[in-house]
């Protein structure tokens, strides 16, 4: 395939002819609209973009994108997308998944795609509930969650998706929110520019089975005190007039939140997404409390490591570079390799 040529497309070009069938009020609509209006920025022709999904509400996403797309099976989208991406480096491959799809049934594929650093952009819509199967708790639901399958409360501790991704040493890890289009698109932009796996958690409201799960991060009254907006190269402060900040207390392992007035300015952590050791981003991922206080959003980690795709392709290219014979000649040679004998 030849190199893609820059093209001018509009939001409309990315809308498919299919009727969108999420519940009215679902956070997925906002994400879809944000992605559709962001896509023209990529400058990539539609035919070179592929959305691959698994199963769940979010996984209907490819049907609504006028690109190539595959709605596959539960949890397996990262595996399928890996085969596609590795064999077709000319494509821009996006995975759309949910908290159940990516972290429960498909957990294995997710962590392995991330550790390999496959050139995939993975958007995890986290609504902390099973929506398509009508309201069971998910692997990101809080402990004690009362649902149809856990009438007296769930017993298991949730995954922190970002901590998990960072444990797998993902090279790009970010979080954003369905309702903040500007922020969502800024994160998509950074993800798209990243070579290798880009993991983006998107907090998404399920207004039917888990309504208001992220309200403290959205309500004007609380959001500024709850959200930590990470900006590369900037001191990590938040709240009205930056009254809170993040510091690395001496003697401790992690990061902690303090009142800005109580610390010396040089004690405030300056955000650096390129820190090689994932421990820093991991510490950021541990800041939020159960009530969503101190929730960082933005790009936690963005480091360079050769993508799996590029290493695999380089091996194949290097082997092919040594070849001068036609494939048929090579094949004849291969078949006749080893000890042969001839009968006349």
């Amino acid at each position: 395939m030849s190199e893609p040529v820059a093209v001018k497309l509009t939001t409309k070009d990315f809308k498919s002819d299919q009727e969108v069938r999420w519940c009215p009020g679902c956070g997925d609509y906002a994400i879809l609209a944000a992605v559709q209006s962001f896509m023209p920025e990529l400058g990539i022709p539609r035919e070179r973009i592929v959305f691959v999904s698994g199963i769940g509400c979010s996984s209907r996403f490819p049907y609504y994108m006028n690109t190539y797309g595959m709605h596959s099976i539960h949890g397996r989208a990262p595996a399928i997308a890996t085969g596609l991406s590795v064999s077709r480096p000319d494509l821009s491959v996006w995975v759309v998944t949910g908290d159940g799809d990516a972290l429960s049934i498909g957990g294995n594929h997710l962590i392995h795609a991330l550790r390999r650093n496959v050139n995939l952009k993975i958007l995890l819509f986290n609504n902390r509930i099973y929506g398509l199967t009508k309201g069971q708790y998910s692997p990101t639901s809080e402990v004690g969650k009362v649902t149809k399958s856990t009438p007296v409360g769930s017993a298991d501790a949730p995954f922190n998706p970002l901590s998990l991704a960072l444990g797998a040493e993902a090279t790009f890890v970010a979080r954003t929110i369905d309702s903040d289009r500007k922020h969502l698109q800024s994160v998509l932009r950074a993800a798209a520019e990243h070579e290798g796996s880009a993991f983006v958690e998107i907090y998404q409201n399920c207004n039917i089975f888990n309504d208001g799960a992220f309200d403290p991060l959205k309500e004007p009254a609380t959001r500024d005190d709850f959200l930590i907006r990470l900006e590369h190269g900037q001191p990590v402060t938040f709240g009205a007039d930056g009254r809170f900040c993040v510091v690395h207390p001496p003697g401790g392992f992690g990061l902690e939140v303090r009142e800005t007035a109580s610390v010396r300015p040089e004690e405030i952590v300056v955000h650096d997404a390129t820190v090689a050791d994932p421990a820093y981003a991991f510490a950021l991922s541990r800041l939020p409390g159960l009530d969503l206080s101190n929730t960082p959003i933005g790009v936690f980690r963005n480091v360079d490591r050769p993508s799996y795709d590029s290493v695999v392709q380089a091996q194949v290219s290097a082997a092919q570079a040594t070849v001068t014979d036609s494939p048929e000649q090579q094949l004849a040679g291969l078949l006749a390799s080893g000890d042969t004998w001839t009968i006349l």
Binding site: G69, S72, G83, P327, D339, T340
Partner: protein
């Protein structure tokens, strides 16, 4: 001393020892020397799943059987004429397979009190007369090897390890094998350690010279070359042939091959082999699990590669959901199942044919796929190409049912002319296909093949979405319409049922047989050998062998109906027989064994003789 030379038409030798004794390598080298001579060959390795079971114990015994002849042969032989036993465990584990009068060469150095006790011998069988019915050759293999290497700069351990080359030298002398290829092999194998090259060659020659000088071996044998079709041959295992078949399929389709695989016995060698052939544009991926392996292969197929996944039964079980997805997506995919004894982990290094039902029916919903099975090691090459041909032409998953017996067994392979291999080129969709040319209909079918267009990402104007949800005919849009679902289910079934496959051929040289033996897969050799033995005794019997299990050959019903009795030997509890009875209303007789070993020709001969008597 002049030795007597005797002509034989066929010989079966079994090399047996501890799993660390290098018996597979010894057998492999003897086979290669024998191939150089132009004998027909068939081999059967038999090894434990444990990499190193406790030394000297029965579970640690590893063996390699080679059958060679001056005529064409079909099996590795029922019972060995010669057993090389490197220790008491190897003798004990294999003695029951030997006919009286067979030659037994034992390594007396290993027949110590301790080693004898390990396998429950109170008294050494070399001394209690229990081997009187055999031609016993006690040889101090280890000490003679160490003695021969006294002047060599190698450790005692390395010297002892060379005893397999001493044994190979002795056997090579006994059967007048040309040994140049073995010397070359040793030079390659130990290229970085010249002292080991010298030591192993010296051990080999010591074994050869021992045969020539000792009076214990008074006879030397010759087996003349077999009359085989002219051409260039190599000896090949089923797994190697299958790998080369996949390489060839990629070349003939002009498509990159993508293999997604997870290591599993006995299929891993295909992954190893294909990993070596990147210059053909082959990508291999060792996935995190069986599901990811097939998922990645399917993703690659979606992108326009020939997607392949290789595994054994437990892996196919895990891949079932993705095979169903491939059925719904109607994309090419080759799934190789090198069957082993189940259920569950079963006996990973032993053979069985018990995945037929799973291949045919082991998925949710009506999810038909094509299924084919190779009949011998060399046939794996052509079966792999056939699997790829069906997958690419009909845009369907194809399950290729090999098994441990053909995968690890070997035979001479007449190298094909590359230009004579099938042309597997396909055309990707490039333009909208609706009648007015305005839109792309991903499920508008080719009227002849019923295949849908393969429109790969990157093709402008054909952007479309596919998925596991039921699709409307032609448009591929999501559809819950009852009539449409019924139509699509029937169409997917018809897609497989109408794939043209060659008629089944019947071998009935006498032309008056009343009993037909029907087989599939790796039982071809033993069934064929049993039929020959019966015919040599003047009895008539017909043999037919299925390569295509789905769809089955169109003439199969007619063929079955022409015989008074149909017998179906299988290494399972009657899976093909069940299908034949259900589908063709034929009162087929099953003959079933699940011992982890192939049928012997003799047992099939005895069984078939009984059937013939009762017709």
């Amino acid at each position: 001393m002049t030795k007597q030379v005797r002509q034989l038409d066929r010989v079966v030798i079994r090399f047996a020892g501890d799993s660390g004794d290098g018996m597979q390598l010894t057998g492999d080298r003897f086979t290669s020397e024998t191939a150089q001579l132009g004998n027909d060959i068939s081999t059967l390795p038999n090894f434990p799943a444990e990499i190193r079971a406790p030394a000297g114990t029965l579970p640690g015994v590893s063996s390699f059987q080679v059958h060679f002849a001056d005529y064409d042969i079909l099996t590795p032989g029922d019972s060995p004429n010669v057993l090389v036993a490197m220790n008491p465990a190897a003798l004990k584990a294999n003695l029951a397979d030997l006919p009286r009068g067979a030659d037994i060469i034992v390594n007396t150095d290993e027949f110590t009190k301790r080693n004898l006790a390990k396998v429950g011998y109170q008294v050494s069988p070399l001394e209690d007369g229990s081997l009187d019915g055999y031609a016993l050759h006690p040889v101090a293999l280890t000490s003679m090897t160490v003695g021969a290497l006294a002047e060599h700069e190698v450790s005692k351990k390395d010297a002892e390890r060379a005893k397999n080359m001493f044994a190979l030298g002795l056997l090579s002398w006994m059967y007048s094998r040309p040994y140049e290829s073995t010397l070359r092999f040793l030079e390659r194998k130990f290229a970085t350690r010249p002292e080991l090259v010298a030591a192993n060659i010296a051990a080999f020659k010591a074994g050869w010279n021992f045969g020539e000088t000792t009076e214990d071996f008074s006879v030397r044998y010759e087996v003349k070359p077999a009359k085989m079709q002219p051409g260039t041959y190599r000896n090949i295992t089923g797994n190697a042939a299958l790998s080369l078949g996949l390489v060839a399929a990629g070349v003939r389709a002009q498509l990159p091959v993508f293999l997604g695989a997870y290591p599993i016995t006995p299929a891993s060698d295909i992954l190893h082999e294909l990993s070596k052939h990147k210059r053909f544009g082959i990508t291999t991926m060792q996935a995190e699990d069986e599901i990811a392996a097939i998922g990645a292969a399917l993703g690659a197929s979606y992108g326009g590669a020939l997607g392949v996944t290789t595994t054994s039964g437990p892996g196919v079980a895990l891949k079932g959901e993705t095979i169903s997805l491939a059925v719904a997506l109607e994309l090419p995919l080759v799934i190789v199942d090198v069957q082993r004894a189940g259920p569950s982990t079963g006996m990973p290094t032993k053979t069985e044919q018990a995945d037929l039902n799973m291949a045919l029916f082991g998925r949710h919903g009506e999810a038909p796929v094509a299924v084919i099975a190779p009949r011998s090691p060399a046939d794996c090459f052509h079966a792999a190409i056939e699997a790829a041909r069906i997958a690419l032409t009909y845009r369907t998953p194809v399950i290729l049912l090999s098994d441990n017996y053909v995968a690890n067994g070997s035979e001479p392979w007449l190298l094909p002319d590359v230009a004579s291999l099938p042309d597997l080129r396909v055309e990707f969709a490039t333009t909208p296909n609706s009648e007015d040319g305005s839109t792309f209909l991903p499920y508008l079918r080719d009227p002849e093949t019923l295949a849908r267009p393969w429109a790969i990402p990157g093709t402008p104007g054909l952007e479309h979405r596919i998925g596991g949800l039921e699709k409307a005919d032609k448009t591929g849009d999501i559809s819950y319409d009852p009539t449409n679902h019924d139509f699509m289910v029937r169409t997917r079934a018809a897609r497989i049922e109408t794939i043209p496959v060659p008629d089944i051929e019947v071998e009935d040289p006498d032309g008056d047989a009343r009993v037909l033996v029907l087989g599939w897969g790796s039982t071809y050799g033993p069934i064929g050998a049993a039929c020959r033995q019966l015919r040599q005794r003047g009895l008539s019997i017909a043999q037919a062998h299925l390569r295509h299990l789905a769809p089955m050959p169109a003439n199969l019903g007619t063929v079955l109906a022409a015989y008074d009795r149909v017998v179906i030997p299988e290494m399972n509890l009657g899976q093909l027989a069940h299908i034949i009875r259900a589908r063709y209303l034929v009162d087929a007789i099953g003959y079933n064994q699940v011992r982890g070993l192939p049928f012997t020709a003799n047992e099939l001969e005895t069984m078939l003789e009984e059937v013939l008597k009762n017709v």
